[in-house]
Symmetry: C2
Subunit: 252 residues, 2 copies
């Protein structure tokens, strides 16, 4: 298991609306969870403004540093949607109208007022790119080498991820188990460190909360080896119980 290749991805969120605080991002958690099922680790996220130079620079850094790069945002029909142009610039290729994307949009808009110039913008791709199907809104996502260009609207991004299910090469999914307890982190820090040290290859993360006037934390054990995660969870459960806490499997 130790010698298995680990597949890693980055996510680039293109979004003035996220950086202004106006919109709460939902795509980081969505892409992260989806990647995990594919056996790929999300190893870095960057959020940059809707500026071509900033997008192109981040794309070139991340697509070379990771196996896969996903982007969300900026592929709609309006003037502020510059993701395709920026990624074409990053690759040093022109932007073309993809014939199949044009046909998809012609069909989709046949009963919705027809294809106008703004709608045709959504058929534009960097030269050499393939399409990612999208059942929800007609306009497809775009795959350019190892870069997967998704919509910013979370429900549309979700349809594009579904279309990619099982199509990317990955390793073993990360397995996790969670125990929650109404324990202040500072009361169980030693216990956690000792438990982690006793189980090689399993990491334990501690995520505190404060709820209804009580301090508590969730302890998340992670490994690619499900048996080891289960053993660690059982061990931690015993130790927490012995220390007078009442841990809840699945978390609080």
């Amino acid at each position: 298991m130790g010698n298995e290749r680990v597949w890693v991805a980055a996510l680039l969120v293109i979004g003035d609306e996220i950086l202004s605080g106006r919109t709460q991002d939902r795509n980081v958690a969505q892409v992260a969870s989806w990647l995990n099922i594919q056996g790929i680790r999300l190893a870095e996220v960057r959020i940059v403004p809707d500026e071509e130079a900033r997008i192109a620079e981040a794309v070139n850094t991340l697509r070379t540093a990771y196996d896969y790069l996903f982007t969300t945002g900026g592929i709609g029909p309006t003037h502020d949607d510059i993701t395709v142009d920026s990624i074409a610039a990053a690759f040093g290729v022109p932007v073309i109208v993809h014939p199949k994307a044009r046909r998809i949009l012609e069909d989709y808009y046949a009963t919705r007022g027809g294809l106008n110039e703004a709608r045709l913008r959504m058929a534009r791709v960097p030269q050499g790119a393939d399409l990612i199907q999208n059942e929800e809104s007609g306009a497809p996502g775009v795959k350019m080498e190892n870069v997967y260009i998704l919509a910013g609207v979370p429900s549309i991004a979700a349809r594009m991820l579904e279309a990619l299910d099982g199509k990317l090469e990955g390793g073993r999914p990360m397995i996790s188990a969670t125990l929650g307890a109404y324990a202040a982190e500072s009361e169980v820090a030693d216990l956690l460190r000792e438990t982690e040290a006793a189980h090689e290859g399993v990491t334990i993360g501690s995520y505190p909360f404060f709820r209804n006037g009580r301090h508590g934390a969730n302890f998340v054990m992670r490994s690619e080896d499900g048996d080891r995660v289960r053993e660690t969870a059982e061990d931690l459960q015993s130790r927490l119980t012995a220390a007078g806490f009442d841990p809840v499997l699945g978390g609080l």
Copy 2:
């Protein structure tokens, strides 16, 4: 106005729990909104794993590229909290126990079981750092030159931001206005582009949604000049109304 200095900040989220998809980040929107009130733009976000080398590298890149760097996460009492050590490494200084932080924790835990070794971890700072007050949980945040080290728990990060209110040098806050309409973006793309072109210094972002079976979008106008934002909003409202839509001020 055009010659006024623009202040820019980056945010580094330190968080395996965000990258695994387990936890929905809340700090990007919170820090972004707070910065905007201080007259500082959030210009980049990175999310990296809980690994010292990754944290230190990102800290050194971002603290030199921006006026301010904020970090969230990894300053608790448990073994997986390595932010202070990583930032000390980035600055090339040792970690010390801050005398005032130690006193704060001694007072806080006097009626809560006393200061143990795990709790004392929260008094550790990079040598040369100052404290950021935190009314909620005792443990302070840390300021190291232009780097502001905040808690990962959003409610505690919020208290630390409150303590910093009005204390950072900034410029004019960004003013924005929002109009929402049940219009498909592709029907109003030209209208939006023309409106933006007619109002120098104002950007218009278009953020589509699909709700109750209807396509719509919110159009957000932004500038440091509130008068220009208001003029642009009135102009866009007229144009949308003339085109047969029924725009709603404040957004949908």
